[in-house]
Subunit: 224 residues, 2 copies
């Protein structure tokens, strides 16, 4: 590779995170409003350009912090978006990440150096986004639906443990589907993603529910 060749110049990396939450049965994603060109005034997913001194995931986390104030998130790389013209100023290849957190546990910055607003949008009410972010978000939602059944990605939504009824509502919100309570329990437990704690929910006028927690490590299943 000849570093001076023009074909290799002016290329950069975007790190873009679709950060989800679930509020009262509604799956939402965090969007920010741009304060600069290009796409000034447009809503976009959180993200920005990677520094050449940081790893991909660290860059995505830094951008989240800078543009929304959100910290302590676990995210997972899911796909790269590299069409030549996806960004207008120069050639940018975007690495997409997903994560999910409890929006009640974070303080969202409404304005920063580079953003004029930030908010959680229900995933079925997404405005036209800047860049190719509608496409990235679509893929992110698909990936989220896959990951919740085969990884512990939901751990960051329930860092203090979760009850099966809560989990069921979450799955129903994300997969947009209803489940039978008994069968959901059996399925969930057989997925081997959660483990019993010996605690119960704080009660509120009804039978307290058992608390589970997501496992630290998930072993992968046979595929054939």
């Amino acid at each position: 590779m000849d570093v001076k060749n023009k074909l290799y110049k002016n290329t950069g990396i975007h790190v873009i995170t679709a950060l989800f939450t679930v509020e009262q049965g509604v799956t939402k994603v965090l969007l920010i409003k741009r304060k600069n060109e290009p796409f000034l005034g447009d809503w976009v997913l959180t993200g920005g350009a990677l520094y050449n001194t940081e790893d991909l995931e660290d860059g995505a986390i830094r951008e989240l912090k800078e543009k929304t104030g959100i910290e302590n998130v676990e995210i997972k790389q899911f796909k790269v978006f590299g069409k030549v013209n996806r960004s207008p100023m120069m050639r940018m290849v975007a690495v997409g990440f997903i994560g999910i957190i409890d929006s009640k546990r974070v303080h969202l910055l409404r304005e920063t150096r580079n953003t004029s607003n930030a908010d959680w949008f229900p995933i079925n009410k997404i405005p036209p986004l800047g860049y190719d972010h509608n496409e990235i978000l679509e893929e992110a939602i698909k990936e989220l639906r896959v990951q919740i059944v085969k990884s512990n990605i939901l751990k960051s939504l329930f860092p203090d443990g979760v009850t099966l009824p809560e989990l069921q509502k979450t799955y129903e919100a994300i997969l947009n589907k209803k489940f039978d309570r008994r069968n959901f329990r059996k399925k969930m437990l057989s997925l081997d993603l959660i483990e019993d704690t010996n605690l119960t929910d704080r009660f509120e006028g009804n039978k307290p529910a058992k608390l589970y927690r997501f496992k630290k490590q998930i072993e992968n299943k046979e595929i054939f």
Copy 2:
């Protein structure tokens, strides 16, 4: 993003393909030997730096052509590798692709402008590779094993159709596992990846086998 900021300079994209084949029950991957620094004389996966004028997949295909002579391959993006120091000269983020072809159908160039050798290596006999390619290859093998049961990736290995006994040998080679013949058929057909042609194998002293072909489009299955 301030384009002049040093933090955004000197970043490039690698497009790296793990191209597999299966020969007599052995899964192999294509490696090339480097003719230049860095890693001069080392074996690596096929790939190189992306031009700022081409899409990711096009770049990976171009690199395959340039360094091995291989054309008409279908490849699939699977993961990004972005550790700050994965490449010694400058910051390079690698986008990994996998593909699988029939090695008998291609003419492999043994030497090119940038390579001093090229060959198919059994995946359990891989030498230490340049860059982080051992890690990339490991992930690529995992992904291959997932893809053969949920996508039509094997189509490019069998462009003219395939019989169930051939397919079974291929799955056994890639998954490193034996299957019962009757159960393999049932499973394979229920996966809905292949469809009957009304042809049969050209025979060679025994009962001719029915020919199947991989479907163009695979619909995705329910996940919960």
